[in-house]
Symmetry: none
């Protein structure tokens, strides 16, 4: 999964910034760095990121102050990274609008998981798992299929079959497997069902029925989505 979300790191320690940058970049995040409160606020305002990682111990101003100023307008997740482990700081930060608080040194795996959790719920509407294959798009959470950005109307069974093929793009799915998965184990002999529904799907998503480019027949074996 490539995300490319922009993350702003506000921390004055260069080695922490470096560690974070390398870790996050190798997880497909785009990084912006700031080493002071002033710089951080400026960067956030000029290029609002998807998430902010904020150190509480900044040289020019308290991190708590930065958090408050950010929260006057910034609504996306803010995670606090701090050496302070006392409850007072944690409670204060969370009540001032921080979404999470990790005590340094933190485990990077945990940080990444907490970031995923926050990004998941913050962009719950906009970020759907959309699979795009040439002119065909399928949004599994909306249960929506598009061809050239036009919605394609599919019945429940047609959708299930297409989704199964697309989830296994490139792989041959046997008749048996398809029948068992879509219709149930007692239908593995009803190959004719499969032919009927494959034909219907092709009518809806292929441009040239005599030369299907997406749903490929593997004679004697099954079908494959390309």
């Amino acid at each position: 999964m490539s995300n490319h979300a922009e993350i702003l790191i506000i921390d004055d320690e260069p080695q922490i910034r470096k560690l974070l940058t390398i870790t996050l970049q190798s997880n497909d995040y785009n990084i912006r760095e700031a080493s002071t409160a002033r710089e951080g606020l400026l960067s956030a305002a000029n290029h609002p990121p998807e998430m902010i990682l904020l150190d509480l111990g900044l040289p020019d101003e308290s991190g708590h102050m930065v958090l408050e100023k950010l929260r006057e307008w910034y609504t996306k997740p803010i995670i606090i990274l701090s050496v302070q482990s006392n409850e007072e700081d944690i409670v204060k930060a969370l009540d001032n609008g921080a979404n999470d608080y990790l005590v340094k040194p933190f485990r990077t795996g945990e940080l990444l998981a907490r970031m995923r959790s926050l990004l998941r719920s913050s962009s719950s509407e906009s970020e759907h798992p959309v699979i795009t294959i040439q002119d065909i798009q399928i949004d599994l959470s909306l249960r929506l299929v598009k061809k050239n950005d036009e919605p394609v109307k599919l019945t429940a069974t047609e959708y299930n079959l297409l989704a199964l093929l697309i989830k296994n793009e490139g792989k041959v799915l046997t008749h048996q497997f398809l029948l068992r998965t879509i219709w149930g184990p007692s239908y593995i002999d009803q190959s004719q069902y499969l032919r009927v529904f494959i034909a219907q799907l092709r009518k809806k998503i292929e441009d040239d029925l005599n030369n299907p480019l997406h749903i490929i027949t593997e004679s004697g074996i099954g079908y494959r989505f390309v």
Copy 2:
């Protein structure tokens, strides 16, 4: 601030439940308790709470399993409370849909602050109280629906159904999900209710009943608001 939000505690240790109950009740939360996985899932289904506090070490089933089963339909915050402090458990829980993870013994002040933080962002209805979709407007805080700026008179059930559809604009909501959420888990077989109320809603907000543009039927699956 009095909140009166309902919180479900799933934990098998009576003394922990007692501590949590007393702490949370003195902070104006209403508490429901469960000591096993089975009991917890049942309680959550029958009285969906505003938040769930889930222990990972349950006697009958793994807490991870409970989390997965809950997340099949429960969308509000879940905080994990566990004696396990290893990164593997934390990452797994967060990636399975937990919103936070606190290692026992935890500080109650911090737990309360993290709960406030999650409740704040989960009740995002206050941030975007008005949703506009073409000619339909819904003000979730006022419980008011307008069509072309004209107020539409809806009954309580009609409103609940429409609001649920609109909050999930574009997504197919299954019969099961709609029935369970609006009428309760014991009504999942009463599809006819849904048909009657969908017809009533369409009469009130669609221009052409023979060609509904907002409430779309997905035969065999459910309905979708566009």
